[in-house]
Subunit: 161 residues, 6 copies
Amino acid sequence: MKVGVYPGSFDPITLGHIDIIKRSSKLFDKLIVAVLINSAKTPLFSVEERVNMLKEETLFLENVEIDVFSGLLVDYMEKQKATAIVRGLRAVSDFEYEIQLAQTNHSLNSNVDTVFLTTNVQYAFLSSSVVREVASFGGELDHFVTSNVESKLREKFKQED
Amino acid sequence: MKVGVYPGSFDPITLGHIDIIKRSSKLFDKLIVAVLINSAKTPLFSVEERVNMLKEETLFLENVEIDVFSGLLVDYMEKQKATAIVRGLRAVSDFEYEIQLAQTNHSLNSNVDTVFLTTNVQYAFLSSSVVREVASFGGELDHFVTSNVESKLREKFKQED
Amino acid sequence: MKVGVYPGSFDPITLGHIDIIKRSSKLFDKLIVAVLINSAKTPLFSVEERVNMLKEETLFLENVEIDVFSGLLVDYMEKQKATAIVRGLRAVSDFEYEIQLAQTNHSLNSNVDTVFLTTNVQYAFLSSSVVREVASFGGELDHFVTSNVESKLREKFKQED
Amino acid sequence: MKVGVYPGSFDPITLGHIDIIKRSSKLFDKLIVAVLINSAKTPLFSVEERVNMLKEETLFLENVEIDVFSGLLVDYMEKQKATAIVRGLRAVSDFEYEIQLAQTNHSLNSNVDTVFLTTNVQYAFLSSSVVREVASFGGELDHFVTSNVESKLREKFKQED
Amino acid sequence: MKVGVYPGSFDPITLGHIDIIKRSSKLFDKLIVAVLINSAKTPLFSVEERVNMLKEETLFLENVEIDVFSGLLVDYMEKQKATAIVRGLRAVSDFEYEIQLAQTNHSLNSNVDTVFLTTNVQYAFLSSSVVREVASFGGELDHFVTSNVESKLREKFKQED
Amino acid sequence: MKVGVYPGSFDPITLGHIDIIKRSSKLFDKLIVAVLINSAKTPLFSVEERVNMLKEETLFLENVEIDVFSGLLVDYMEKQKATAIVRGLRAVSDFEYEIQLAQTNHSLNSNVDTVFLTTNVQYAFLSSSVVREVASFGGELDHFVTSNVESKLREKFKQED
């Protein structure tokens, strides 16, 4: 069984992430969307909230599982018997960073390969940080996230007032 | 009347900014240079100091106004009945970020467009952060800012000693 | 009166070009779309055919004129009393070439400035050469050109069989 | 059964191509390496020679087939019931061109997706055109191609003398 | 006597740094590897530890000296009667930043020039920050640093537990 | 004695080339400017004309020699006992191509290294092909080449009329 892992922060999940999840789920028998627990950053949504949003948005995809991980990605891959890391490519600066990650992971474990998909054009300039910033000023979010995620962003910024 | 807005931090205004202001002021009936109030960053110069430096450096340009804004740029544009955002492009990494901003702003308000000018070659590698760093070590500043701004930078770093 | 010039080969005009023409026509009192006569290249459509397609696609825009030019663009700009060159930016490799052109034109005539618009995301990867190649193999064209231009492409490749 | 297609000119096949073929063959049930017949270019090796070299170099990979195609890649994909195009990414300029191709192919047929692998670092700057140029001057080729391909390159340039 | 300076943080020195030091030491009569004292950052290794590691790894290179500096690099260059700054180039994003630094330094002192070497391909995606991150999770380090530096990294992260 | 080689087409020599020659001549005991004889291209100026222009423009630099070469650059380097190739870097697209060349040359002969200088900002967007195009239309050339080269370009395009 071929297992792929799509790692990320997903703070929060955007329409761009959903596009990559849908398309890459067709490439593997099982796709694990793995939320990175990064103690160095203060996220907007807790790990639990992010996992729940991911589960709600991927309910209709049978071979997709949501999980969390910390530490080296290659160690997590080995534990999951997964061989391919999935990443979405948006822009040139992404590409540089992603290629560095891919080469580092391949150096650490040569059984692990990284597979890139290009983000659909309409999401080519979308990122979670843009979404958080627009939400913080009460801007329109419907081109960026699902209505479910939008309402969670609205609540989050209401709490902060 | 066509109104353009040139947004930025201007901490402090450089010769590169002045070049963009001069050239873009010819493209519009009115050009508003809008200082972003960003509570997340600690600037070297206060908003008032930055507004004053901008006013001093653009006195000779009749259709240029200096203003401040916070929140979403597209909301500010609407309030000002402005339709074009002006941005200077320096390098490839600029380009990536700027195109993301431009697409996001166009998503948020399709009446708002972004117009890019390429920075004059002699300022192609100049930024406010470089200016602040060179000033902090007492380096030469005359290729980077006007003598007026230079003396304000000298004072600022004297105060800090 | 502010006059802008949008130069190009337009072989043929794509939906991306039409997007740039519409948006930049709002920035000037008059916008001239200027077809470059380049004796070094063999175009698919003759200059006359390209001018006619441009006229048909811009009929609804009152301040847009279609013209042809050869020689140095800055000389043509001077003859037309135009001060701004309009260019659409798609990708990083575009950006490099465009910035070189803009700086060269500014060196040749410092009154001439280049104004860049970013191509709308859905046309961000579209070019006339892609359109010609897809048309040559009978592929779908409706995401790329208008139905008018599509039928002219179909005829062109019928003639060549 | 999941079928991937790795299209290219392979004029000639390099160690970089072999690396991508090996790694991507693990991602699919069947991988078709498809040589593009491009009437606009004069290749060094004929289509038959290129197909034979590909067969010789991939004998040990059971799920890899060698084929040729002309016309639109998406039409070929449909005929082969293949859903993923495989491409190797080397550098930023590759990335731009590849993303344009991927988006165009997805526009032409939304069932077709492109999967990118990053070329192994030691082949990151290798291309068939570099190989041909070095071979034409009698330079060392053992870092670039297999000894089998090297001897075919030597013969080819002997014939031309 | 021609003197070159290779400035950096070297936190810690990687195999990529050693490659640049070896190759650039051949270009000058004396090469000074200069550790930047940057009060704004909290390094993993102290300046003393970094200087010692650099000394241990360059013992075999007779014309290489290790030093520290703070303030403007061009002032340090002048004090050392050095005329060339040495920098290793890895990727496009490096290139942008490095070119900005080189132009700024040349603006500040036109006698100072920057000489770039491209990092050997096998270290093209390696950086001190990647090394620190992999070490913090106990990952393999032998592709990235010498065994001497590896053992110092292991100690460092033991201390932190 | 340290010998550097600055290879290129120099068709014709620009102010940007002269800037690189001046600066790199300080880095070596001898600098050879080597004109590539490329039978695949039809140059504007003959090899003899290009060598003569290079000699005229570098008369004042005592350690600079002008030569021609064909075949592999690394073979020429060996014949000249030269160890460093000098190249000027302008833009990102240059960088990609140059890094590929540098890595290829290092693969072919590990004693040969490539040293990059960044082109002075005022020549950052200048190339021989831009010069030829502007000259062909009778445009201003004084920002691009010396008056000596300018008069040779004027003659050349007079001859062609």
